[in-house]
Every structure is written in structure tokens, then in C-alpha cells.
């Protein structure tokens, strides 16, 4: 189901855990499955570079692997650049996810967004003008081509 890289990022998660003196924390829930991700950022106040980043995720293996991957991608980037990372970038970087698991990568993208929002709200009490959050690129992700009248399916019983 999952490719080797996804399995590796799940089995050996990068940057999991907390930052006790984080500059910002983002927490998001996945509306599709109810899973939750928390992102901790340590941000250099001058350069706005993400110096440290950690995650905690309650979710499936894909959620953990994508969390893991986005922390790697974001680390060392400025906050503005980190915000350009889309869930598709994360999935691509992992070599792809199964269609039914594309929604899981949303947690990662939105986790960074929520943390950034927390950072700016704490600092300025508002979001900076012109800051744009990428639109999710999975509008029909996961939706299998609907061809049969199908019941909901379950795992092996």
C-alpha cells in the first residue's frame, strides 16, 4: 500500500516531539477522519527562519509520514517560504500516497499554516496583510472514479 519512502518516514519519524519554548504552535484536525496534528516552531525573530520544528500527530501512518516530511522541508526556510509548501509537494516528495490517503497530507500543510497564524497573532495580534495560505490541491483527491454502485467498504473481517 505505502511505498518504501513513506514507510521509512513513518518508521523513523524526523522531528517528532515537542519544543518546550516554541515560538508558535499550530494544531489542526482533519475534517475527513478526525485525526489531529500539532506543529511546534522555533522561529528566529530577525530573519523569520524556522530554526527548529517538531510535530505530534494522532493519525495514520500517512499522517505521520507527511508530518515527518513537512518538518524536514520547512526546517531552515523562512516562514514565508515554508507557507508555500503544499500538501501535494509533501506527497510528491514522499514518492506519492495511495489515493485514499491523499487527505492525510492536508494535515501537514495546514499544520504549518496554523502555526504561522499563531506566530503572527502572538506577535502582531493580527495576520500580516498579503500573507497567503496555499489552497489545498486535493479537491478531488482520494475520490476514486465513481463507476460502480458501491457500498462502503471495510477492512478484512
Amino acid at each position: 500500500m505505502y511505498n518504501q519512502k513513506v514507510v521509512d518516514y513513518f518508521m523513523n519519524p524526523r522531528n517528532s516531539g515537542r519544543i518546550e519554548d516554541a515560538s508558535a504552535i499550530g494544531e489542526v484536525g482533519n475534517p475527513v477522519c478526525g485525526d489531529v496534528m500539532k506543529i511546534y516552531l522555533k522561529i528566529n525573530p530577525q530573519s523569520e527562519v524556522i530554526e527548529d520544528i517538531k510535530f505530534e500527530t494522532f493519525g495514520c501512518a500517512a499522517a505521520i509520514a507527511t508530518s515527518s516530511m513537512i518538518t524536514e522541508l520547512a526546517k531552515g526556510k523562512t516562514l514565508a517560504n515554508a507557507l508555500k509548501i503544499t500538501n501535494k509537494d509533501v506527497a510528491d516528495e514522499l514518492g506519492g500516497l495511495p489515493a485514499v490517503k491523499l487527505h492525510c497530507s492536508l494535515l501537514a500543510q495546514e499544520g504549518i499554516q496554523a502555526a504561522a497564524a499563531d506566530y503572527y497573532m502572538k506577535r502582531d495580534g493580527k495576520l500580516p496583510a498579503g500573507l497567503s495560505f496555499p489552497e489545498s490541491s486535493m479537491s478531488n483527491g482520494g475520490a476514486e472514479e465513481e463507476r460502480f454502485v458501491s457500498e462502503d467498504s471495510r477492512a478484512a473481517d
Partner: protein, 393 residues
């Protein structure tokens, strides 16, 4: 010297090719996972099912994702006929179905059951060779016709229908077309990219694969209402834990059949068939072939009516001689009616009683046929000697 045994009931079921059994074997007690499980055993079962689906699809030049495995050929017929009829009625497209008089019970009884559920249906007649006429089909199509189901080739008389023409009529009228290819698949070339068919039924055990596994080809975009509800396996169309070993066996059987067809083995078998038919007709007077001849007939299939006698007697005497055949006679069925297929071709009751079907496999040899040609005539003689109808010379 052991007596010769000649199995000539390959339309009923075939011997599982040992290579097929070999492919299946590991999936019972070694790789026994449920394909829906996430762990290693599940993944290896899933991979095996995927491979088999691709092999089975390749036999008829279909895409793997358009092949649904079922628990029998009959089940695939039920799914196609009922599933499409319900789905199209639900969409408000109508509730009239067309079929033929010589369909297998699986299709015919499904249509009749739908009749009880408020559907209407028309049963098309066949000619003396068992052929459905495309013109008759066209004439029978009504504005509320949604589905036509006509078999690819008949099990009792071996007749191959003009599927392309029949399908074209359906296409022209925007009617869905299902064909039961249980007897045809693996035995003659079928290409769903060229044929205007929407659904096509196959069964592994009629092509040297295992029993208990069928398949339905469903053209992309067609929606069916499942007949078996549950866990949603097989794209939601056939619930129930996948029968992994049997599916693997189907795949292997399809692969072997495709290689054989590509090598033209069906042509060779057809030549032996004609030698066989010729031998029977010349050695046994007042006997005729039932069904069509030549290219309009399944290459492994022979069937006859032998006048003045009854099928069961022939079967039992042939059995005693190590020749295993079948009959559409009344006495061999629970119903006590002779085969409706033979009656539909215009045979009278008494003649239909004397039916005999001898269906070969790729293992049948010329020596086997010669053995039958030696044993069969005296058996007929013996039975005719007891018949009140037979005018002894």
C-alpha cells in the same frame, strides 16, 4: 492393459490444468492472507489478486479494473442481468429486457425472476441452428428496453451467436448488452475492445481453471446494483472475502488459454471436431448434428440427436465403456422435460430425447476419438434393438 477412459464432458466442467493447480497451491496454507488485511500476508494476497485480475482481463483484452470476480459463472450472470436491470430502472430508463430462448438457466431464470419483480421481458426465438437473428432483436427493442442478454455460445449445441451484429443493434438503440461467454471464453478469441458488448460472463472451470470462481467484465462507466451485499469487495460489486487461490487459478488458466489461442490451438481442435462429427454421422444412421457447424460452432463441441433411443441409456453404456458424455434428455434432468434448448431449435420431443453431447478438451487425442467411433455405434445398435420406434432392417 487398463481400459481407455475418454472424458468428453468438457462443457460441464474441465480438468484443472496441473499448472493452474500449481499456481494456486501456495495460497492455501502458506500465503493464506485476506487481501483486505494491511499486513504482509494481506499484501501478498492482494498482489496475487491484482496479477490474476490482469491475466484474466488480458484474455479478453479488457482493463484489469473492469473485471469483477464472482463465486460462479451463474453468479456473474445474475449480477449482470439483475444488477443492470435494477440500476437502469432506478434511473427511470425503463424495465424491459430482451433475451433468447436458449440462454443458460442462470440468465434465463434471472430474467424470469425480474419478471416477478415487475419487469417485462421478451424471449427471442432461434432458428434450427440455434441462431438469434439481429433483425428479430432490432424488432423487439422498445422505447423502454434497457438490457439485452444473449449468450456468446451455447452449452448444449455449441452454436456461436453473431455477437458483433447483436451488439451493434444494441448500441444503435442505446441499450445495454450482456453476453454469457462461459462456454466461449478461453476457447475462441474474444476482444472486448472490438466487440460492442457491455458486460461479459466467464467461468474458470470451463477453461481448465478451478470451480467456484467466475468473472464479469463490466465496461467502464456502467453502474450495477450489487446482488450480494456486504463488505464491499470487488469494487463494491461482489462482497465476501476474495477466494484468493481460485482467483489466482483463474488468472493462470486465462494466461494459458490466451497463449493457446495465440498459437491457433482452437483451429486444430476444430479440425478434430469435424473429423469426430463426420465419423459419428457416417457410422450411425439417422443421427444428426444439433446446433451450427464450422466457424459458427465451438471448436471443442459436438452434439447429436440419435433417433429412436433415449439419452440416458447411451450415457450409461458409454460410461461402462469409459466414455464420459452428457445428454439434454429428460431422463437425465430433474425436470423430466427434454432440453428447452433443443426444443427451441425446432426438434420434437421424441427426437430431443435422443440427445448426446460429446465435448472435447485440449487433451483429447485422435486415438480417443477413434475409440469413441468404435464403441459408440454398437451401443446405439443395442439400444435401438430394444426400441419400439426403430424399424429393424
Amino acid at each position: 492393459m487398463t481400459a481407455r477412459e475418454v472424458y468428453l464432458d468438457n462443457s460441464a466442467t474441465t480438468r484443472t490444468d496441473p499448472r493452474v493447480l500449481e499456481a494456486m497451491a501456495p495460497y492455501f496454507s502458506e500465503k493464506y492472507g485476506n487481501p483486505n488485511s494491511l499486513h504482509k500476508y494481506g499484501r501478498e494476497a492482494r498482489a496475487a489478486v491484482d496479477t490474476a485480475r490482469a491475466q484474466t482481463a488480458a484474455l479478453i483484452n479488457a482493463e484489469p479494473a473492469d473485471v469483477v470476480f464472482t463465486g460462479a459463472g451463474s453468479e456473474a450472470d445474475n449480477l449482470a442481468v439483475k444488477g443492470a436491470a435494477w440500476a437502469l430502472r432506478e434511473k427511470g430508463k425503463g424495465a424491459h429486457i430482451i433475451t433468447s430462448a436458449i440462454e443458460h438457466h442462470a440468465a434465463l431464470s434471472s430474467v424470469k425472476w425480474l419478471g416477478k419483480m415487475g419487469f417485462e421481458y421478451t424471449i427471442l426465438p432461434v432458428d434450427g441452428r440455434g441462431m438469434v437473428s439481429p433483425d428479430a432483436l432490432e424488432a423487439a427493442i422498445r422505447p423502454d428496453t434497457t438490457l439485452v442478454t444473449i449468450m456468446f455460445a451455447n452449452n448444449e449445441i455449441g452454436t456461436i451467436q453473431p455477437i458483433k451484429k447483436l451488439g451493434e443493434v444494441c448500441r444503435r438503440h442505446g441499450v445495454m448488452f450482456h453476453t454469457d461467454a462461459v462456454q466461449a471464453a478461453g476457447h475462441i478469441k474474444i476482444d472486448v475492445k472490438e466487440l460492442p458488448v457491455d458486460m461479459l460472463t466467464m467461468a474458470a472451470h470451463k477453461m481448465y481453471g478451478p470451480k467456484g470462481i467466475g468473472a464479469l467484465y463490466v465496461r467502464r462507466g456502467i453502474k450495477l446494483i450489487p446482488t450480494l451485499h456486504g463488505g464491499g469487495q470487488e469494487f463494491g460489486l461482489r462482497s465476501g472475502t476474495e477466494n484468493v487461490p481460485a482467483i489466482v487459478g483463474f488468472g493462470k488458466a486465462a494466461e494459458i488459454a490466451k497463449a493457446r489461442l495465440d498459437a491457433g490451438a482452437d483451429k486444430k481442435l476444430a479440425a478434430m471436431r469435424d473429423y469426430f462429427i463426420e465419423g459419428v454421422l457416417s457410422k450411425i444412421p439417422e443421427t444428426r448434428l444439433t446446433g451450427a457447424a464450422g466457424d459458427d460452432r465451438l471448436p471443442f463441441h459436438t452434439s447429436f440427436v440419435v433417433k429412436y433411443i433415449e439419452g440416458e441409456g447411451m450415457l450409461l453404456l458409454l460410461d461402462a465403456a469409459g466414455i464420459y458424455a452428457s445428454s439434454g434428455s429428460a431422463c437425465t434432468s430433474g425436470s423430466l422435460e427434454p432440453s428447452y434448448v433443443l426444443l427451441a431449435t425446432g426438434l420434437d420431443h421424441a427426437t430431443a430425447h435422443g440427445s448426446l453431447r460429446l465435448t472435447m478438451s485440449h487433451e483429447t487425442t485422435k486415438e480417443d476419438i477413434d475409440y469413441v467411433l468404435e464403441k459408440f455405434p454398437p451401443i446405439v445398435e443395442k439400444l435401438r434393438a430394444m426400441s419400439p420406434f426403430y424399424n429393424k432392417k
